[in-house]
């Protein structure tokens, strides 16, 4: 039976409004207006995106969250490009969600997921920069009493061309803030970009090398107390009872708080005291009826999804795949599996909250400031004008910090101690066992050939969990979860790159009680393994080269093909590999970007050790804002994806997750890191994401190479369960 999540209706309404990614489109750029809006230090806002200080410092407002992906820097580049300001004088700041709500959502969508940080805000942040530039030029022209058309701006300096007079942005900022903004501004043609497209250094590096960077876990407020937390180990379970008296006299303990129905927190002077006391607190849990669920019971349920009598949702269909397979000259069939995965951000979940009778403030790392704000309102019971959320840099997000469970908990604990700031920090164990896991799926792949070895049909039947069913049921389409079909759709931003005469891709939905979530790359992680490993299987079944086999199916998908060709060429496909080295390929599309990967591996110890020597990754994100950061996202995504392939996998026993820490859920180290070569092919005309898409090509490229090395086809993850490790 599908597990039905309990939703708080109020949180649902606010949360879904805050999540709506489309709302920012058509956003009005706030006007400087006759009244000058001032930043906290008194400097004038030219508009919501740009503040200019008298010393020519340009403060660019960034609504999206920085979690390592570099979009803080990339978004600043987009604004600065249009502003024509001096990049060396640029700094950034986060507006708060409370400020945004008070200003009719001046900064649009805060949510930072789905690799949307740059691609979904590029249009309006560039307009923000261009508008501010026009206002600065106009202010200078008015001061000189010359036509605007005679003035140009570059590098934070406005010049009156005929006379050669010059002024700086800092000098005209006060006047510019009073100028009526132009009704419409043109942004630059990409061919005129000077700063966008350059691999400039990140703006947030220095403090990350000295220990100064403030993460949520580092928050300090006067009189602050610390909270440690334990949630019912079985998802959906409850607290039955706890014996508070047993820890009442332990050092530093201030209070024991029941948080909602499923959670207990201990508040103490230090977190170490809170954690030590919580470990000693006897708690009796009610497992809520899920105490018998195991990985085996989930697997059995997924297997039932292949029974033809079970209903499915169709994601992509052309021709009649079932009939074509039934009448085929040759049929190939295989089952693939992908497990639950935990995000395991380096910084465990945490939030600090201060609640007083008429105000509630939260400090935290979040991928969605507005959702955190909505959670603060809901948990505090206070209205929007009495709440705010102060975003801090995230110690990793990967999709986990788009959820607001930890924010809600911090507020509920703080509410029990009005006037005292409370910092809630989860242990690694709590973090590992109370995530929103990459969903579990199993997939039956079937391909059919005619007598001439042409692929005539492809049938892909995915049985498994839907993310939207639990997290955003309002986004289901007549019950179907469209996100399930990432990379497999007929068209759009996650389109399949192959044309097959008869195609059927369907989803038999099964929703176990383990909460699913958006894990870097989301469903492309498994969809790419299923499709791209099976493409190799199909090619090999008819004795064809995997690259040539794909090319024949890709003539109508030139962008998919271009990235595949790029990695094939760079890896040396078709030329002899070094002795003992084998190559594998994969291509896919996700988050509106086209990606491909090619790996070189060697295998030792009877197939039980894999050395990944090299991976070439190609990306066509349409426009490449900062190539140096894209290179880092590509290499970093390979580490995350390969960690999941080799070491990952969260298993369920007695209704709970078994893995508790990095000793049982390991992550790649530097010794296991392949050399990564990133090829960026920005073909222009569209905006694609870069934080996530490439993650999905590393695993199938390695698995395809492994088959060539060993003759053994691996169809399930993680490799550690098959006694295969990094060499």
């Amino acid at each position: 039976m599908n597990h039905i999540p309990k939703l708080d209706r109020r949180a649902f309404v606010i949360g879904s409004a805050a999540l709506g990614s489309g709302l920012a489109l058509g956003l009005d750029i706030p006007l400087g207006g006759p009244t000058v809006v001032r930043a906290a230090d008194g400097s004038p806002e030219i508009n919501a995106w740009v503040v200019i200080r008298p010393d020519d410092t340009v403060v660019i407002r960034i609504a999206r969250s920085e979690m390592g992906q570099g979009s803080l820097t990339g978004l600043a580049q987009l604004v600065a490009e249009e502003l024509d300001c001096d990049w060396s004088k640029v700094t950034t700041e986060y507006p708060t969600p409370g400020q945004s709500v008070a200003r009719k959502r001046a900064w649009g969508d805060f949510s930072t997921g789905g690799s949307r940080g740059i691609r979904a805000s590029a249009d309006y942040v560039r307009k923000g920069g261009a508008t501010a530039r026009a206002m600065l030029i106009q202010a200078a022209a008015e001061e000189w009493k010359v036509p605007v058309s005679e003035c140009i701006a570059a590098n934070s300096v406005v010049t009156h061309t005929p006379s050669g007079r010059k002024t700086t942005y800092g000098k005209v900022a006060e006047a510019a803030a009073k100028v009526s903004p132009p009704a419409d501004v043109k942004v630059k043609d990409p061919k005129d970009w000077k700063l966008v497209g350059k691999g400039v250094k990140r703006l947030d590096t220095a403090d990350k090398t000295t220990g100064k960077m403030l993460y949520g876990i580092d928050m300090k407020l006067p009189g602050m107390l610390n909270a440690a937390i334990k949630q019912c180990p079985v998802f959906g379970g409850k607290v039955k009872s706890f014996d508070e008296a047993k820890i009442a006299n332990m050092k530093g303990v201030k209070k024991v708080v029941k948080v909602g129905e499923s959670t207990v927190a201990v508040v103490a002077d230090t977190w170490w005291h809170a954690k030590t006391a919580l470990d000693a607190l006897p708690i009796v849990w009610d497992d809520g009826g899920n105490g018998q669920v195991s990985s085996a019971s989930i697997a059995k349920w997924l297997e039932e999804g292949f029974d033809p009598s079970q209903p499915t949702y169709i994601g992509n269909e052309n021709g009649d795949a079932k009939a074509a397979i039934a009448g085929a000259a040759k049929k190939v069939e295989a089952f693939y599996d992908y497990p639950y995965q935990n995000h395991a951000t380096m910084e465990p979940m945490n939030a600090t909250a201060l609640y007083t009778a008429d105000r509630c403030e939260v400090w935290c790392g979040t991928q969605n400031g507005e959702a955190a704000f909505a959670a603060t309102l809901e948990a505090s019971g206070l209205p929007a004008d009495k709440c705010d959320v102060h975003k801090l840099i995230l110690g990793g997000g990967f999709g986990r910090r788009g959820q607001t469970d930890y924010v809600r908990q911090a507020v509920l604990i703080a509410k029990e101690m009005p006037g005292t700031p409370i910092k809630l920090l989860w242990t690694r164990e709590e973090d590992m066992q109370h995530g929103y896991y990459h969903p579990v799926t199993r997939c039956k792949m079937t391909g059919a050939f005619d007598a001439n070895n042409n692929l005539t049909a492809l049938h892909m039947r995915i049985s498994g969990q839907s993310i939207l069913f639990t997290l955003r049921p309002e986004a289901l389409v007549n019950g179907k979860d469209p996100v399930t079909f990432q990379g497999l759709n007929a068209s759009g931003e996650t389109a399949i790159g192959y044309s097959v005469p008869n195609l059927l891709i369907e989803h038999s939905m099964r929703n176990p009680h383990v909460p699913p979530g958006f894990w870097r790359g989301v469903n492309v992680n498994h969809n790419a393994i299923y499709l791209e490993c099976f493409m190799d299987e199909l090619a090999q079944s008819v004795g064809q080269d995997p690259l040539e086999f794909r090319r024949k199916l890709m003539s109508k998908h030139p962008k998919h093909l271009a990235v595949l060709n790029a990695v094939a060429e760079r890896i040396g496909w078709g030329t002899p590999a070094p002795q003992g080295v084998y190559r594998g390929l994969a291509q896919f599309m996700g988050f509106n970007s086209y990606v491909a990967g090619a790996a070189e591996i060697s295998v030792t110890d009877n197939g039980s050790k894999i050395k990944v020597h090299r991976i070439v990754g190609a990306t066509d994100p349409g426009y490449a804002v900062n190539p140096a950061q894209i290179d880092r996202q590509v290499a970093g995504s390979f580490v995350y994806g390969l960690s999941g392939l080799f070491y990952g996998g969260c298993t369920v026993k007695d209704g709970r997750i078994e893995q508790a820490n990095f000793d049982s859920y390991n992550s790649m180290r530097i010794a296991e890191m392949p050399k990564v070569e990133s090829i960026i092919i920005p073909s222009g005309g569209f905006w694609g994401g870069v934080g996530e898409p490439t993650i999905c090509v590393a695993a199938p490229a390695v698995l395809n190479a492994y088959f060539l090395a060993t003759g053994k086809r691996i169809r399930s993850v993680p490799l550690k369960d098959q006694n295969i490790a990094f060499a």
């Binding site: 979690m67 390592g68 992906q69 570099g70 250094k201 990140r202 947030d204 590096t205 220095a206 403090d207 990350k208 090398t209 000295t210 220990g211 100064k212 960077m213 403030l214 993460y215 876990i217 580092d218 300090k220 610390n226 050092k251 230090t270 977190w271 170490w272 395991a344 951000t345 380096m346 910084e347 465990p348 840099i393 995230l394 110690g395 990793g396 997000g397 990967f398 920090l425 242990t427 690694r428 140096a628 880092r632 290499a635 970093g636 995504s637 390979f638 580490v639 995350y640 960690s643 820490n661 990095f662 000793d663 992550s667 790649m668 180290r669 530097i670 010794a671 890191m673 050399k675 990564v676």
Partner: protein, 149 residues
């Protein structure tokens, strides 16, 4: 109560002797550059130097380090001059989220003290910190850059 010498300064910290050094550093000395990642010496985010040796402070008790010279990321710079590892980190734009980097930098600083010109194999053996963002390629480049600085 224990006395700790951290970055050349003396701290009287009111903790039980079995308190992990990490939490005495973060909560009692108030130095939050040293990070909590796992608590079981797996990830290395909490790496500090004790008597010049890199140690995972989550798994060292305060009672074990009394009287020893402890250096955290905040104490790595010398009179405001960044350590060559920190400089290489900035020059090579290494950090992504940055959370693991304090521990990574401390581990690398200790490695370079032992082996001023480490080979890739030396790096593979000595640097076992987890970075979930996957900065390893830049970490390796920056280690070699620092060694050659």
């Amino acid at each position: 109560m224990a006395n700790l010498t951290i970055n050349g300064k003396s701290f009287d910290v009111d903790v039980e002797p079995d308190t992990p050094l990490l939490w005495a550093i973060r909560e009692n000395a108030g130095l939050t550059g040293t990070k909590y990642g796992c608590g079981i010496a797996q990830c290395g985010a909490c790496t500090v130097h004790v008597g010049g040796v890199a140690m995972r402070s989550c798994s060292v008790m305060v009672s074990e380090v009394a009287g020893k010279k402890i250096t955290t990321i905040e104490g790595l710079a010398d009179n405001g001059n960044l350590h060559k590892v920190q400089q290489a980190w900035i020059a090579n734009d290494v950090p992504q989220c940055g959370y693991c980097q304090s521990g990574m930098i401390m581990a690398v600083a200790a490695l370079l003290k032992d082996k001023p010109k480490p080979t890739d194999d030396d790096i593979n053996e000595a640097i076992t910190n987890i970075c979930r963002c996957g900065t390893f390629q830049q970490v390796r480049e920056a280690i070699h850059a620092a060694a050659n600085a």
